[in-house]
Amino acid sequence: MEDLIRVLTPLPVLLPLLGAAGALLVGRHPHTQRVLSVVVLSGVLAVSVALLVLADDQGATSVSVGGWPVPLGIVLVVDRLSALMLVVANTVTLGVLVFAVGQGMADGEETDTPLSIFHPTYLILVAGVSNAFLAGDLFNLYVGFEVLLAASYVLLTLGGTAGRIRAGITYVVVSLMSSLVFLAAIALVYAATGTVNMAQLAVRLGELPAGTQLLLQSMLLVAFGIKAAVFPLSAWLPDSYPTAPAPVTAVFAGLLTKVGVYAIIRTNTLLFPDGALDDVLLWAALATMVIGILGAVAQTDIKRMLSFTLVSHIGYMVFGIALGTAAGLAGAVFYVVHHIAIQTTLFLATGLVERRGGTTNTEKLGGLAKASPLLAILFFVPAMNLAGIPPLSGFIGKLGLIEAGVALGGAGPYVLVGGAVVTSLLTLVAVARVWGRAFWRPRAVDTADEDLEATRPAAGTSATTAQLQENRLPRLMVAATAGFVVVTLALTVFGGVLYGVADRAAVDLLDRTPYLESVFGLEVIR
């Protein structure tokens, strides 16, 4: 068993990279490319599930890449948190890939996502995300970030239209800035401790003077805060995400910010367990939640509204991390899992809305509930889940965080608990407005319902019918979105199991010894 996990660990990085090479080679055969990508990502998902089962069973394990002895070579570490993140991430990437394949097949040659580029880039993005989750040293984490960012630059500007280039420039420049801050932080960490291995850092950083520690921690948190879109550093996100193709926005919204959150969790638990910046994080979490959701309420475009709720709900995770208790971390981990799934689902459903209604502007949409009841269900269920309506997983996550806040007590956590409740209510307002305008209110007269179509004068009828035909939703896209809705419901049904894993992961994180022992064995670490 011990050997099996060592064999499996590098695969989530290796398989997508090899798959990307293969997808580039067969770039002229779209069908082969699609089959290849889906097969590769299914394999990665299977490996991730196996890793989660093994890691939950036997705790953290590390693999020295290339057989170099530990502090010299690169290590990959699988513990409960990274395995859980891998499973969720790869479920999402596989589902979004199926959605994209459905879109590509429906649009044929006229698609705005050139297939020959989309598939290899997408697989490289997956490799980067997996590498970031598995990285056992800071520099490898940086490389993982760069791989996924470079892929995301290409995906965000697919097709190179004016709008996407405009959005892409903001995104690229901000991401570059965060990468440079991260790299400078690595340089300073190395200068101070002489290592970039995270397990070794966990020991050596603690011996540094408090001021040095504070500087290094704040640099790392600023770098990851930009990637995770924590409030003062979040303005780039709603500007850059909405213009990309639907599957790209969905996977970005679901995954990329959470990689930043994952890095913040590691920084705050493994590297700097003293919690010196917990108060700062707490207030940043409050600002992220409230300001983000106020932005969402002001929007009239569904994609932009969702981008703002994405920023806002990052605040919940940061809240859990800033509490610094096992309960808070468990809540944050559960919320990360829930939010990856739910945000992706909503963006995919919005992609379907855009196809059916021709726009995502709620001032122009209308009557979708009558025109497409299935689509209405696919939007309504995750929307209520996002707002945290009781039986659903959003409620479980928020309840866990609020309980953790109350259990810790004190002025700060209580204010945060209040902020979390207000944010949840305002989220309900934001999604209910979209629901009311796009789905419930009657349709515009110029795009009237099908039953009025028959009685209309003949002029223009053929064009309208053709448009309606075109607006029919491709089955594969609907199926992928429906699959995601089922996954989010499964997160609710199996919430207890999932919360158990999150709890154990949080205990591991605070304990730190499982991680350190996995890298160094039981010997004394110096």
Partner: protein, 198 residues
């Protein structure tokens, strides 16, 4: 081992110049700023490896006489990454130039629209005040529909638009006559509708 002041000064200067350029709206300057910042960071990593000018891993007796090889390996990776991303940014700048004949960071149109909107709540707005393109399909309470074939629509109590337009045209031609523009008025005395003429 004496710390040198040269490297910190170079690093600081590069960072300052880089940040200054990065804050510019012109994308070429942003790219130059990014390159400077990248080089500043590379020198920072190198300086973390020990005193400048020593060789890495030479078989020497005193460990203090060699340079740490790891930062050099890290810098190599960082240089490659910076190089690749710079090429991509350059391609984006060129694309932006091709598309909009401009290479500055542009405002987000939707952002501006939301920010300059007068009313906060879209539900409270009077559709009559909005530009036609922004009007919603209904007020959310009444169901509107196209008149069926053969259905007689009741006379509207709106202002008679055709009459108003004719009056406006009349006034306009009167102004034209007052300005001494005889060509505008044909012999029959009927004023030419300027809208039609253009």
């Amino acid at each position: 081992m004496i710390p040198t002041v040269v490297l910190p000064v170079i690093i600081g200067g590069l960072y300052a110049a880089g940040v200054y350029l990065l804050l510019d709206r012109s994308l070429t300057r942003v790219l130059l700023g990014f390159l400077l910042l990248g080089n500043a960071t590379n020198v920072l990593i190198l300086s973390a490896g020990g005193v400048a000018g020593l060789a890495p891993i030479l078989p020497v007796d005193d460990v203090g006489d060699i340079n740490d090889p790891l930062p050099q390996a890290l810098v190599l990776t960082a240089i490659v990454i910076t190089f690749g991303i710079s090429a991509f940014v350059l391609a984006m700048i060129y694309r932006s130039w091709r598309l909009v004949r401009d290479e500055v960071v542009q405002d987000d149109a939707e952002d501006l629209r939301v920010a300059t909107r007068e009313e906060v709540d879209a539900d409270e707005r009077d559709p009559e005040d909005m530009p036609l393109a922004d009007r919603g399909p209904g007020d959310g309470f009444t169901v509107e529909r196209e008149p069926l074939v053969g259905e007689v629509t009741p006379p509207s109590d709106d202002v008679d638009l055709e009459l108003a337009r004719a009056e406006a045209a009349e006034n306009e031609s009167a102004e034209a006559r007052a300005a001494g523009d005889p060509d505008r008025t044909p012999a029959g005395g009927r004023p030419v509708d300027r809208e039609e003429e253009h």
